[in-house]
Amino acid sequence: MTADIFLFWLLASVTLLSGVGVVLVSNPIYSALCLAMTMVGVSAIFATLGAYFIAGVQMIVYAGAVMVLFVMVLMLFDLKTEIATFSRGRISGAIKIAIVGLLAGLIAGTFAMTTTIAGKPETKEKAGHAAKSLGELLFTKYVFGFEALGVLLLIIAIGVVGLARSKGGTHAKH
């Protein structure tokens, strides 16, 4: 099991580091690329947890679609020369950082002290089987949510076209 443990620490550190990179890097394009890296790392973590299909979906949807959109937008509007990275205000900045730190400690502490789920991880199953059960669950228990999401996506598609159309024609104005 040492390989698994090594993998966890590797992936956790990669994910966390790139996550921190998102916040700290001042060029938003690097931020986006860092986030893409985080997504890939999270996907790998899903894989270590046996959720292979979800890992793939994570890659396709987040890394392959959402982040591409972000990068595309950033490149499209060429935001390299950036305004100041962080918002002004020393006091509020200090408070915010303190909150973040406290929250990190608190959540971690809460988990460490309270989580008592003693269930053993399921025995190794064929990944394909998990995906199949996922499909069955999706189409029985969660079928309503599934259809609702279909409608949501339709609405978003229509709305986004409306947004993109509004005031500005097809070309970015300068």
Partner: protein
């Protein structure tokens, strides 16, 4: 027939008429609206007749048809039902209300046909009938009070019916405000009675009262009845709250006939009669009622002698006659009060309608100085008016004679009465004879003073039919209550009235045996005085026109005082209204503007400042919002983790 069904038809029929006319008033012409309203009241009248017939069929001791529709209020030990009861007293009232009411509705069809708001008028009239029925049928004070307020509202609406005329609108408001004073007292009386007896139901109250003997000079019963009486003075236009009634003549004449002569103004009398066992337990109240009644009778009569407006004369006459009824109540002659109430309803409604007919003929002219010799133009009106005149001045065998005589006799004979009261009553009768004769002379007889261009004409048939019917009733209405002494003389005619009311009326204790010769003497005196007075008036206004003004001049200041209604209105203004207005203005300025408003401004400033302070938190900076969420999360998690 089913009593509750009859009762609901009786009560709701006018209400349905009100809804139909009220909700669609713009679409109706006078004929449709009048037909709807009149038939609504007529249906009510028929149900009333059915109910009364059923009531008559019951044995005398249990003549009572009670219907409870639902429990209206139940709070702690206050329990009020929407209960209605037809008994001997309310039976008379519903017959008068619906009967006279339908006649007046019929009259209105002709009288109001030129008016634009005719449907609205009929709607109000129907609403009034509905409320009046609530008032008389309610089996407890609260339901009665609902009707009481309802008729007040309708009175206000109808007095101010031509609200575009400011004085008429003001008259409506005056009536309403004056009534409010009485209503407040009525409420206080109700509270006191409820506190004392724990119920508002009439029969329960009347049953409980005899057991609770009054111990002190001004106990709960005296106080309660006194307050109720003040309420009655408001509604029934007695001293000191009569001032609204003459002004109420601003409304359409049929309204005056219905509301301000026949029905609503008698509500106070009705209320006292309904609670007569309780009033009997409060001799102090009784005394006050008798004195007020007698004083009102005389004072209103004196004012009536000097008025030139045909309706004003009738209005003061009404006040005066109501004084008689209160006098009767005050001396314990409740039967006589009810009797006079009924006969008065007939002849005064007749006279008001007659005056309406005259006004109609004279094209809205109300000043009797511009009339005279209308006999030939308005034969039917004149004849019926003549019947009313004979009835009111108490000439036998017209109805007024019997009821008025009964009152005068009782005020002399009853242990609660006093010769002075009788003397006041007799004086009032004399004055009544004078001013009514004056009215007849100036309106119908003597020389014509009708301005050129005015062509008086007899009224249409819808207006004359009610006059005729009421005329007949004015003549024969008194025959059901012929006094013992007269009936003995005529050969033992039954006194239907007395028998009918007997179970409901508490006997005056210590009533001595009637002295026949004394009674005859008193009757002769009052009739004689009235006749003489009438003759004098005839002489003064027909034979020698002008002598009246000489007399008035001779009287000088006294005449002036009377002509100006004893300056009562002015006195009220000086004593109550102006100080009230000034005090209110001072309160408004010093308390409201300078204190309360400043407090509220201060509160507003605080809120505004606080808002500005808090608004700085809501500055649109999304990250700050997120920070607040974060702070909240930290706090919540800390609390969770501490536990």
């Amino acid at each position: 027939m089913n009593h509750s069904l009859l009762m609901s038809i009786l009560i709701l029929s006018p209400f349905v008429g009100f809804l139909i006319n009220g909700l669609r008033y713009k679409k109706h012409n006078y004929l449709v609206a009048g037909t709807i309203a009149t038939s609504a009241v007529f249906i009510s009248f028929i149900s009333a007749v059915f109910l009364v017939v059923d009531l008559v069929g019951l044995p005398p001791d249990s003549r009572r048809i009670a219907v409870t529709f639902f429990e209206w209020i139940r709070v702690a030990n206050l329990s009020v039902d929407a209960g209605f009861v037809v008994d001997q007293i309310s039976a008379i009232m519903i017959l008068i209300i619906t009967g006279v009411g339908s006649l007046i509705h019929l009259f209105s069809v002709g009288y109001m046909h030129h008016d634009k708001g005719v449907a609205k008028y009929f709607a109000y009239l129907n609403l009034f009938i509905f409320n009046m029925l609530l008032l008389v049928l309610g089996d407890n004070l609260l339901v009665m009070f609902v009707g009481w307020e309802g008729v007040g509202l309708c009175s206000y609406l109808l007095i101010g019916f031509w609200f575009t005329d400011e004085t008429k609108a003001a008259a409506g408001m005056k009536a309403f405000v004056t009534n409010r004073v009485g209503d407040a007292a009525f409420l206080l009386g109700m509270f006191i009675l409820f506190l004392t007896f724990g119920t508002l139901n009439f029969s329960e109250l009347n049953a409980l009262v005899p057991a609770a003997a009054e111990t002190s000079w001004l106990g709960a019963i005296t106080l309660g009845t006194l307050f109720l009486f003040v309420g009655a003075t408001g509604k029934s236009a007695q001293i000191p709250l009569y001032i609204w009634l003459p002004d109420a003549m601003a409304g359409p004449t049929p309204v005056s006939a219905l509301i301000h002569a026949a029905t609503m103004v008698t509500a106070g009398v009705y209320m006292i009669v309904r609670l007569n066992p309780m009033f009997m337990m409060a001799p102090n109240t009784m005394m006050i009622i008798a004195i007020i009644g007698a004083a009102t009778a005389v004072m209103a009569a004196t004012i009536g002698m000097t008025q030139w407006d045909i309706k004003k004369v009738l209005a003061y006459s009404t006040v005066s006659q109501l004084g008689y009824m209160f006098l009767a109540c005050g001396v314990g002659a409740f039967g006589a009060a009810m009797f006079h109430l009924m006969t008065h309803a007939f002849f005064k409604a007749l006279m008001f309608l007659g005056s309406g007919s005259v006004i109609h003929a004279m094209h809205e002219e109300q000043d009797i100085r511009k009339m005279g010799a209308l006999k030939k133009y308005l034969p039917i009106t004149h004849f019926t008016f003549l019947l009313g005149w004979l009835a009111i001045i108490g000439i036998p065998p017209f109805s007024g004679f019997f009821s008025k005589d009964e009152i005068l006799w009782m005020s002399f004979h009853s242990p609660l009465g006093h010769p002075v009261l009788w003397a006041a009553g007799a004086l009032g009768a004399t004055l009544t004879a004078f001013y009514m004769t004056r009215l007849m002379c100036l309106t119908f007889w003597g020389a014509s003073r009708v301005p050129k261009g005015t062509h008086p004409h007899e009224s249409p048939i819808t207006m004359t039919i009610p006059l005729v019917v009421l005329g007949v009733l004015s003549v024969i209405g008194g025959w059901i209550g012929i006094p013992h002494i007269v009936s003995d003389f005529l050969g033992h005619l039954p006194n239907v009235w007395e028998e009918w009311l007997h179970p409901m009326i508490k006997e005056v204790p210590n009533m001595g045996p009637a002295d026949a010769s004394l009674e005859w003497a008193l009757i002769a005196t009052s009739v004689g005085l009235a006749s003489v007075s009438a003759l004098v008036a005839y002489h003064m206004y027909v034979r020698k026109p002008g002598s009246a003004s000489r007399v008035a001049d001779a009287m000088g200041p006294a005449y002036k005082i009377v002509y100006n209604k004893y300056f009562i209105d002015e006195a009220y203004f000086a004593a109550i209204i102006n100080p009230l207005v000034k005090g209110s203005r001072a309160l408004w300025y010093y308390v409201d503007v300078n204190f309360i408003d400043k407090c509220t401004y201060w509160a507003a400033d605080v809120a505004k400042g606080g808002g500005a302070l808090i608004r700085s938190l809501q500055n649109g900076n999304m990250q700050q919002y997120a920070m607040y969420i974060g702070i909240g999360l930290v706090v919540v998690l800390s609390i969770l983790l501490m536990r």
